[in-house]
């Protein structure tokens, strides 16, 4: 059974973010003028002000900036406990997701993580959520070499 999740707030510029995820990849806006990558979606570049941008796929790797484990239930769809992590992408921006896998072990700050899409149902329809799992040792070695 597909997990149920709260729907995200959707502004004009978020649609492309979720559409790309529905096609199996996580894309962020990359500025056509200064190449900086931004999240969340925005009408213009926070570095140079340019409105020209291209939705470009991210590598899907990053590191844990911090985490929290929810013990209180805030959403009917989400019984605790569950882990939320902030992840610094290799491309620079920071995003939020759930850490999949063992929910009882505290993730280490700085731990390398890999993207994994999770299909969920929301009140606004089906979504593919960008989620994170701890990278295996060989993935880490690859990330560091690159």
């Amino acid at each position: 059974m597909t997990a149920r999740r709260p729907a995200p707030p959707r502004g004009l510029f978020e649609d492309a973010f979720w559409r790309h995820l529905g096609e199996g990849r996580m894309c962020l806006q990359r500025c056509d003028d200064c190449s900086s990558v931004r999240y969340p979606a925005a009408p213009c570049c926070p570095r140079c002000g340019s409105e020209a941008c291209t939705w470009a796929p991210v590598a899907g790797s990053g590191r844990v900036v911090s985490w929290t484990r929810f013990h209180r239930q805030y959403f009917a769809e989400m019984p605790p406990p569950y882990l939320v992590v902030s992840v610094a992408l290799d491309e620079g921006p920071m995003v939020v997701g759930n850490l999949l896998g063992d929910q009882a072990t505290d993730p280490a700050i700085g731990a390398p993580v890999r993207l994994r899409l999770q299909t969920v149902e929301t009140a606004a329809g089906r979504l593919d959520l960008p989620q994170w799992e701890l990278a295996a040792a060989e993935d880490t070695a690859k990330t560091e070499k690159r």
């Binding site: 709260p6 729907a7 969340p40 929290t68 805030y74 989400m78 921006p93 995003v95 939020v96």
Partner: protein
């Protein structure tokens, strides 16, 4: 670039001459018995009557109005029956700053700052499907699909990173809650007065790990009002409390992605505000006798103390463990019990406590010989700070 000589003139142009609060503990007890005493506007009106009485002024003396963010300007003015020459809406610290700006610029001479909140009886949600604040702070609602909406969860993430970097433990968070509770025990208007031990704290349930129940502020109804007027009008008033300085610095770039929160603990804004504040006041932490810190969560305390230079970065645990911040310490903090133990008035009750401390009217919890009280607020990276001074100090 800020202009410190103008800032000094603006701060020196005003004084707080009246304060008022509702009966937090009594109203909270009544609500537990099912009696809703009033709504947000009614609590504000009660607080304003008390502040006017405290100041020896009448409503007709008021020509400026600042209302808190939980009420509408027009409806508040309508309920209070004032048509001021100037009005605005602001959080607690910015209400004081805006009143000073209005007075310094000549828009008004006697400003009522009023706050009312019925968040408990009205069931305001600070997380979940109807989380408040998303229209002002996108990060409060952006991450709903991942179950992250509460402000507490954002502070929990700050705490986990900080504890991995600094010598700071969950027990240090507990010491903050315990110290403030000890002040609340000496405050008849505080809602939470039952003694709290570190063991009680450590045994309490997690909400968003590592934060526990006692790291979270209360949620209650109430109102607060202050009267701010010109320094000339206040000159002959021995109970008037002056402003040595005010300062502000924002961090909003990358705020939704949580970068300034998690990577910097808002220290860039703390440093900018502190530099202006201390330069304008002409003194720094060495001359501060008591601090009031916006404490919706215990975690605000180490970040504000480090950011404003009360200790080095990563060294707040030492200050906390020394007992400096607790009753009898050298830097008593949140002496009313703060929002963790007195009342969650979103920073407004701290202003009243600062004024009463400087008037010497706080009874058992009075800080001896207090000349300067420093208020610090860093909600969502918008750092604002006030340095209050005793009349004649």
């Amino acid at each position: 670039m800020t202009d410190r000589s103008r800032l000094r003139r603006a701060a020196g142009a005003v004084a707080v001459v009246g304060v008022g609060e509702t009966d937090y503990a009594l109203d909270h007890a009544a609500l537990r018995d099912g009696k809703v005493r009033s709504d947000a506007y009614g609590f504000a009106a009660t607080a304003l009557k008390r502040a006017l009485s405290d100041a020896g002024l009448r409503l007709s003396d008021i020509d400026g109005l600042v209302v808190g963010q939980s009420t509408a300007v027009e409806r508040m003015a309508e309920v209070l029956a004032v048509d001021p020459s100037w009005s605005a809406q602001a959080d607690a610290v910015n209400a004081v700053i805006q009143a000073a700006m209005a007075i310094a610029s000549g828009l008004a001479e006697c400003v009522a700052l009023v706050y009312g909140n019925d968040q408990k009886s009205a069931g305001t949600q600070y997380g979940g499907p109807n989380a408040m604040g998303g229209e002002r702070f996108l990060a409060y609602v952006q991450y709903a699909p991942w179950g992250l909406t509460s402000q507490g969860a954002l502070y929990a993430m700050m705490a986990n990173r900080y504890m991995a970097e600094a010598e700071f433990t969950p027990a240090d968070l507990g010491r903050i809650a315990v110290g403030q509770r000890r002040f609340a025990e000496q405050n008849a208007n505080a809602i939470m007065r039952r003694p709290l031990t570190l063991d009680d704290y450590l045994a309490s349930r997690f909400v968003c790990e590592p934060l526990r129940l006692f790291d979270y502020c209360l949620v209650n109804d109430g109102g607060v009002a202050l009267i701010v007027t010109t320094a000339e009008r206040a000159r002959s008033n021995p109970r008037a409390v002056g402003l040595a300085a005010f300062a502000r610095a924002d961090l909003s770039v990358d705020a939704t992605s949580l970068r300034p929160r998690l990577m910097d603990y808002y220290h860039d804004a703390h440093r900018r505000a502190a530099a202006d504040l201390y330069a304008v006041a002409g003194f720094g932490p060495e001359a501060v006798d008591s601090v009031q810190i916006y404490d919706s969560f215990t975690t605000h305390v180490p970040f504000a103390l480090e950011g404003f230079g009360y200790c080095g970065l990563g060294e707040a645990a030492g200050l906390i463990r020394s007992g400096a911040l607790a009753p009898g310490g050298r830097l008593p903090m949140n002496t009313s019990g703060g929002m963790l133990s007195e009342s969650y008035m979103q920073g407004w009750n701290h202003q009243v406590e600062a004024v009463r401390q400087l008037r010497g009217e706080t009874g058992d919890r009075q800080v001896p010989g207090v000349r300067h009280v420093h208020y610090m607020s860093d909600v969502a990276g918008k750092v604002s700070s006030l340095m209050y001074r005793r009349a004649g100090a």
